[in-house]
């Protein structure tokens, strides 16, 4: 009796192991958290210096169109108007997501509804390969194929938002597709069976039942795709033209936050205004990435409520 009591109330090898395991696992997670916090701190401390140390007004930064941080503009403040980059980044991001969505939806439907076995076998590697192709190679192909084609069709130099969009389209496609496939798979099978049993055609069951049930999943997938597009640097930089001009059409050179950041960072000196201004761009990138993720969470929780 007492032996059992002792056995049941004292810790054993298993509990000790569990405690250590939990601690180690927690430390790993904590490390990742710490990493994010320190990246945030570094980017924010430098990015905010533009406003607090160099006294650039936030509004000017977001709304002015002249980007030339090493020079002082007519009004006596440094020319750090990030509007062209912000517009450029948003344009390529939104356009590539819009372009990619029908393709991604088709791919996902093909893999889950139309030809689950064959589609899965063929398209899964397709998606993974598209993810696996390095962005340097995308940029290289963009420069040698996409830009000349755009130039031939649309005129201009071929560099610009359209080229950027086309390259990003291929890059975000796998992200959107694979995430949407996951959410289609989570639509319970009886939805389909119920619709088909009522005499609906496959398309009717897809359109009226499955697509509707998976709208939150699709939105989430698109936003993750946009997050990827927003942060992409090398490939876009090679095809967008890097002109800090407010884009007025799709085929004239424009720039994105990442492209200005990557090209400029090596030419500036730490702690100076031109360098801080670039970090401010990085801060925008970081905040946008945060915003995208929070948006996904909001959609996710809304989606659960309506289910």
């Amino acid at each position: 009796m007492d032996k059992i009591k002792r056995q049941l109330t004292s810790s054993s090898k298993a509990t000790r192991q569990d405690r250590i395991g939990k601690l180690v696992a927690f430390l790993c997670t904590f490390l990742i958290g710490l990493l994010v916090v320190s990246i945030f701190y570094m980017v924010a401390s430098r990015g905010l210096a533009t406003f607090f140390k160099d006294h650039v007004s936030l509004w000017d930064f977001l709304s002015h169109q002249n980007w030339n941080p090493s020079q002082v503009g007519k009004d006596g403040t440094p020319e750090v108007g990030a509007l062209p980059m912000i517009v450029g980044s948003f344009s390529v991001t939104v356009l590539s997501a819009i372009l990619a969505t029908p393709f991604a939806v088709s791919m996902a439907l093909f893999m889950t509804e139309i030809a689950p076995k064959r589609g899965q076998k063929v398209l899964q590697p397709v998606i993974e390969l598209l993810v696996g192709i390095p962005s340097v190679v995308y940029g290289f192909v963009g420069l040698t194929i996409v830009v000349p084609v755009v130039r031939a069709l649309g005129g201009g130099t071929g560099f610009g938002i359209l080229s950027g969009t086309l390259v990003l389209f291929v890059m975000v496609l796998p992200t959107i597709t694979s995430m949407y496939v996951d959410s289609l798979r989570s639509v319970p099978g009886f939805y389909r069976e119920a619709a088909l049993a009522l005499g609906a055609t496959r398309w009717q069951s897809i359109y009226k039942v499955i697509l509707r049930a998976s709208v939150p999943g699709l939105l989430t997938a698109i936003i993750f795709g946009m997050a990827r597009a927003f942060g992409e640097a090398l490939a876009v930089q090679m095809v967008i033209g890097n002109a800090s001009l407010l884009p007025h059409d799709l085929i004239s050179p424009a720039s994105t936050l990442t492209s200005v950041l990557t090209t400029g960072i090596g030419n500036t000196v730490m702690g100076t205004l031109p360098n801080n201004a670039l970090w401010s761009l990085a801060l925008i990138l970081l905040l946008m990435s945060l915003a995208f993720n929070l948006l996904v969470r909001v959609i996710g929780s809304k989606g659960r409520l309506t289910k």
């Binding site: 192991q17 395991g21 093909f110 390969l129 290289f140 990827r228 993720n293």
Partner: protein
Amino acid sequence: MNAKRIDKLATAVISLLVGVVVLILLSLIGYILVTGLPHISWHFLTSPSQAFLKGGGIGDQLFNSFYLLVLTLVISFPIALGAGIYLFEYAPKNWVTNTIRVAIEVLSSLPSVVVGLFGFLLFVVEFKLGFSILSGAIALTFFNLPLLTRSIENSLTAVPKLQREAGLALGFSRWQTVLGVIFPEALPGILTAVILSAGRIFGEAAALIYTAGQSAPILNFANWNPFSPTSPLNPMRPAETLAVHIWKINSEGIMPDASAVSAGASAVLIVVVLLFNFSARWLGNRIYRKITASK
């Protein structure tokens, strides 16, 4: 139009769009291979690169890429596994856990150039690791951790809950259950995730430019003492990887055959990524079959 015809039409449209995507991929890969494969030879794969002469190879860069990959996985896999297990098994459902999840997602969508600069400031400059494979591996770890953690957690979650209960009901601790019961069953998924992430690491350039550096000092492949500066194994030496090399010759290359080297190197990169993908699939299936013993 009746429902049946709409159904046919919709199927046709979907198939068409799918066909377009497959075509894009095939022509992408085809283009890269067709322009690149003719330049690939044994000499190209094994000899060091040339800065301004014809006939340079990519031997050192190829080795660097693999070495960096191995180091990165050695550092990032245990951490990602730990974090994945924590999030799967131990994390309480509260705002702290939610914040950590958001943080991981944010880290995964961070532009790699920002990660690279962070690695540069912290490890290259602050911790005085210099431009080195180790700095590069740490930077790539940052870049790799969120994705790997998420896929490990997903693979663990994909194992039926019943298995977890089976373990617990037999008096296993949670740790034993995760490691002894769930992890082996999630292994195919985890392996696939690791290999796919390996493909991404292999192709990453932006995060490495400021950490592992963009020069490849001449290596002496007869010297395997990891402390010697010319040894391939020395983790403290700077190392230009294949992807960085492609980026560099496209931007500043002055060798007369720069475009050929670039095309050849791109083709090699793609072939390696292809190999990773197929081996991931093959290995995953094999292990799955082995543990389920299905034919």
